[in-house]
């Protein structure tokens, strides 16, 4: 195989401005259409953000679970949504933050890929990130703002970590530490697992890479690595201190809740399509190349191993690997984020593959790759319409208005059959609920002891869900739980036998409000989980402050190393020829 001369136009990287324009062209219209509102978790993040709008320094939110602490979830993207909501309103503020995350991802993928492959392949990888099926899936179907915000910040920080470890650049050290802290403030799990999937391969790369024919000295490597780990660990510990306090004092010990991402995708092909085919899209076709090239090129092997482990975790219960690697976390985390990380790790390979295909097939390759990318992106974006998280779309405004009027909000409520409209209703109404969608934040024993998720979907969790519902209804007096808003007549028999009566109907009689006589008005629970005010102050300043600091420090110019050094930080073209496509 012959490589194109380096001076040929085809060997030049795609300009970043063009990549960002592609991101604007593809994602901005979808976000302006508010497509993510149809996803599983978008309204969850908006619900959290709506609390920060009114109570920036008080993370105790009484609207779910009769009160829970929002320090149980890293706040950064939600706080940005809260800030921007003053300009755009909550929905559009969410879209704005999500859009920034998408653009940052393209930049982050480019910078991360540059560590492994040449600038041209890295730029193609960055362009591919715009069309990545898993990104579309997480943005438009899963609504995982935390994950999709943290990953780009983290990816942008990793090259600085490389520069610190490899060359001892103090400015890079500062930038990496601040960016990692900000990434943790956006999503802690990304940083935790990112350390395994993303950072360990880079450590290996630093260790095995040669400068002037010599590897980094082991003591230097160890000292720099430990220094980075200590400083970043300390920064994250401080920035998210209330989170760690909540986690240590009230660890998540509740019964595991089933999630379809942990299914075996062969035995349950419907979930295989949802959690494998849709996120990977055309990337599935690149898997053989990834394995072959990753194995053949010694420099790419750490990246391949990182990808492989993330890939195995991402296919959930299809193999026992995720259960073995993650332990109890397997029963707590959802697996689609691992597929997301796996696809991000695959992008440098995709860049290489695309560059080589272009070198060989020119326009045919461009057309083919464009179609493959467009279809992957389109499938991820359209999946929330093809396979909607909520089979029935309906408005909750009337339910919110009902709960907020005539003193109804003196009592707590539960919805049944509302799907993932729970967060939307929580955002819009002034009443408090004993239910919610943030399972790790709940402490009520009726909810934690039965291995079921939201009461609103009790039926979907079988016996566990119905046991939890009956336990909660049995303690209605204690929680001031008077109103049950029902959109599924399946529950009517239970409510009738348990002493509730229909009191009103809403939305053209599709929602029935049930009430129970003799329930005392709800009173605030004297929960030990209420964070003290100093934690509220920290929560309102440090995570958000870390993002502001990150914005400032990335503008500090790096010292320019000489050209030779720079050339050695990227992959040698000759290295890559070794595993090139066989003509």
């Amino acid at each position: 195989m012959q490589n194109a001369p380096s001076s040929a136009p085809s060997s030049r990287p795609i300009p970043m401005s063009l990549i960002i324009m592609a991101a604007v062209a593809v994602h901005l219209p979808l976000l302006l259409m508010k497509l993510p509102l149809k996803s599983y978790d978008t309204n969850f993040h908006i619900f959290f953000a709506s609390h920060y709008v009114h109570h920036w320094f008080n993370p105790w939110n009484p609207k779910w679970y009769a009160g829970f602490s929002q320090t149980t979830y890293p706040p950064l993207p939600q706080q940005w949504v809260a800030i921007l909501s003053h300009l755009f309103g909550l929905d559009m503020a969410y879209m704005a933050v999500q859009f920034v995350a998408i653009v940052l991802l393209a930049v982050g993928v480019y910078r991360f890929s540059l560590l492994w492959v040449n600038p041209r392949a890295a730029s193609i990888a960055a362009l591919a990130s715009v069309f990545l099926g898993s990104e579309s899936f997480l943005v438009y179907c899963a609504g995982q703002l935390g994950t999709t915000s943290a990953a780009p910040i983290y990816l942008n920080g990793l090259p600085y970590m490389y520069e610190w470890l490899r060359f001892g650049s103090k400015r890079s050290f500062l930038k990496a530490a601040v960016l990692f802290a900000a990434a943790a403030a956006a999503h802690h799990a990304t940083l935790l697992f990112g350390s395994i999937f993303f950072a360990l391969p880079i450590l290996a790369l630093v260790f095995f890479d040669k400068e002037n024919g010599e590897r980094i000295e082991v003591p230097t490597f160890v000292v720099r690595t430990v220094a980075m780990a200590v400083v970043v660990g300390t920064a994250i510990a401080i920035v998210l201190l209330p989170f760690w306090i909540a986690l240590i004092r009230y660890p998540v010990t509740q019964m595991p809740i089933p999630h379809a991402s942990r299914a075996n995708y062969i035995l349950s092909p419907e979930w295989g399509i949802n959690y494998f085919i849709v996120p990977y899209g055309a990337l599935v076709l690149a898997l053989p190349f990834i394995f072959m090239r990753g194995s053949m090129v010694a420099r790419l092997r750490p990246l391949l191993i990182g990808f492989w482990v993330a890939f195995l975790c991402g296919i959930g219960g299809t193999t026992p690997a995720a259960r073995i690697i993650l332990g109890r976390a397997f029963e707590v985390l959802t697996m689609e984020r691992f597929s997301y990380w796996a696809t991000l790790l695959a992008l440098p390979f995709v860049g290489l593959l695309a560059a080589e295909l272009y070198d060989r097939f020119r326009m045919k390759a461009v057309v083919g790759l464009t179609v493959a990318g467009a279809l992957s992106c389109a499938l991820g974006a359209a999946w929330s319409t093809i396979h909607p998280p909520d089979a029935q779309d309906f408005k909750v405004e009337s339910a919110a208005a009902w709960l907020s009027r005539d003193g109804h909000n003196q009592y707590r409520y539960v919805t049944l059959g509302f799907g993932n409209k729970l967060a939307r209703l929580g955002t819009l109404s002034e009443a408090d609920s004993v239910d919610g969608e943030w399972n790790s934040g709940r402490m009520l024993p009726e909810l934690t002891q039965h291995g079921a998720g939201a009461l609103s979907n009790s039926k979907g969790f079988g016996e566990n869900g119905l046991d939890a519902l009956r336990a909660m209804l049995g303690h209605a007096d204690h929680y001031g739980l008077k109103w049950i808003l029902v959109r599924d007549p399946y529950y009517d028999a239970l409510l009738a036998f348990a002493g509730w009566r229909p009191v009103d109907t809403l939305e053209d009689r599709t929602i029935t409000v049930w009430g129970k006589d003799g329930i005392p008005p709800a009173t605030p629970l004297n929960a030990p989980q209420v964070p003290p005010s100093w934690q509220g102050l920290m929560w309102g300043t440090l995570p958000f402050g870390s993002s502001l600091l990150a914005i400032l420090v990335v503008f500090i110019p790096n010292k320019r190393r000489n050209d030779e050094d720079a050339d050695e930080t990227v992959a040698d073209e000759q290295d890559l020829v070794h595993g090139g496509l066989v003509s």
Binding site: P258, H259, A260, R262, A263, N264, I266, L267, S268, W271, F291, M292, G294, S295, M296, V297, A298, R301, L304, W308, L312, I315, G316, G317, T318, T319, P320, A321, R323, F330, E331, K459, G462, E463, L466, R470, L473, G474, H475, A476, D477, H478, P489, Y490, Y491, D492, A493, L494, A496, F497, A498, G499, R501, P502, K516, D517, G518, G579
Partner: protein
């Protein structure tokens, strides 16, 4: 083979092996979602044939389950499904099977009898249906002969239903203070006493609507310690008939798990009642009631819906008395079949074995739920 190719081969082979292991021996999460497709088990034994059928019923794979039956020519797939989930909407219609138990009763080389116990998760709690199935050998495979219970046929007829209905008109919100309103129904606790069980304190009793209007009732109790500190407050939840017509009596049972009677100094009872629009229809007759002694003591009988509308869910509440007429226990059962007009449906209320010997009489009340409510 160079090291690169070896690594690629190792990763690829390891991936395939892991996928094969994960598919042949799926973990709990994978099994939860895979249902019947989890187990790649052939029907090479009577046990395996019934297990496969049970798994298919659990996964609601009705067609697969129907196709596996030996006697499927005798009925349609729809009849098979309705035989399991009810011909009319009932508790089982929307329930799911969460556990299947199989017990062999008899086996030979060519046929076997097995007991199939399906544990359903219904909205009001778990419900067990038991079917004794005959399994026959067909070549190398065993197939289940399903004992279909055909849909009961209600003869065509016109039933005049002219029972009373009560409606309530409340005073307007703008009336002055002191203006007269309709009074809540008068109810009275006619019996109440606490008992200590292994699970904790249980309060048993009976509540009478002594008024001439229907009452929607509930009872809650607060346990006070000897120093009059509150130990716990609990309500009767569904262990009571909430709708009481005039002069109707309901038992109630309130559980206080984890509380010992020796800790209790006093009990505050709080019965509540409110007016409700109600109908005297449907009338449900309880026939052939029998107290069955230990082992497995129970109250059995049949319910006959005397009205013209199908009752979707019936709740049987039994009050058990000793020789002196004191309440010994209150037990209940939700009937998982719909009550068609004039069609007997059996029920069985289980009684704790240690209490059965003290029981000399009982009284049964029925509360019912009809989808769409009274019309």
């Amino acid at each position: 083979m160079n090291s690169g190719r070896l690594l690629a081969a190792v990763l690829a082979v390891a991936t395939v092996i892991l996928i094969v292991i994960g598919t042949l021996y799926p973990g709990p999460s994978a099994t939860y979602y895979a249902g019947a497709q989890t187990v790649l088990r052939s029907s090479s034994t009577p046990q395996a044939a019934v297990e496969n059928l049970g798994d298919q019923i659990r996964a609601q794979a009705w067609q697969k389950a129907y196709d596996s039956l030996a006697n499927k020519a005798q009925f349609s797939e729809q009849q098979f499904q309705h035989d399991l989930t009810g011909y009319s909407p009932s508790l089982l219609t929307y329930a799911t099977v969460n556990k299947v138990d199989i017990r062999p009763l008899h086996a030979s080389d060519s046929e076997a009898d097995m007991r199939l116990k399906l544990n359903w998760a219904t909205v009001v709690g778990s419900s067990v249906t038991t079917r004794d199935v005959h399994v026959v050998k067909n070549g190398s495979r065993w197939e289940v002969e399903w004992p279909l219970v055909k849909e009961p046929v209600v003869p065509a007829q016109v039933m005049a239903v002219n029972y009373l209905r009560w409606d309530v008109i409340y005073r307007g919100g703008g009336d002055d203070w002191g203006a007269q309103d309709v009074e809540a129904p008068h109810i009275k606790i006619v019996d109440m006493h606490p008992v200590e069980r292994a699970e904790g304190v249980v309060i048993l009793g009976e509540l009478l609507n002594e008024d001439v209007v229907p009452a929607y009732v509930g009872v809650s109790a607060t346990l006070l310690s000897k120093t009059r500190a509150t130990i716990a407050t609990e309500g009767s939840f569904d262990k009571i008939s909430h709708l009481l017509l005039p002069k109707q009596v309901t038992p109630f049972l309130i559980r206080f798990p984890g509380v010992s009677l020796s800790e209790v100094g006093n009990i505050l009872m709080d019965p509540s009642s409110s007016l409700i629009a109600a109908s005297a229809d449907p009338v449900i007759e309880i026939v052939n009631e029998q107290l069955n002694p230990a082992p497995d003591p129970s109250l059995t009988g049949q319910l006959i819906n005397q009205s013209g509308r199908t009752v979707n869910v019936a709740h049987v509440l039994g009050t058990f008395y000793d020789g002196n007429g004191n309440v010994v226990w209150v037990a209940d059962q939700y009937v998982d079949q719909a009550l068609l007009p004039q069609t007997p449906v059996p029920f069985q209320v289980k009684i704790p074995e240690d209490l059965a010997k003290n029981i000399s009489s009982q009284r049964t009340v029925i509360s019912s739920y009809t989808a769409g409510g009274p019309q």
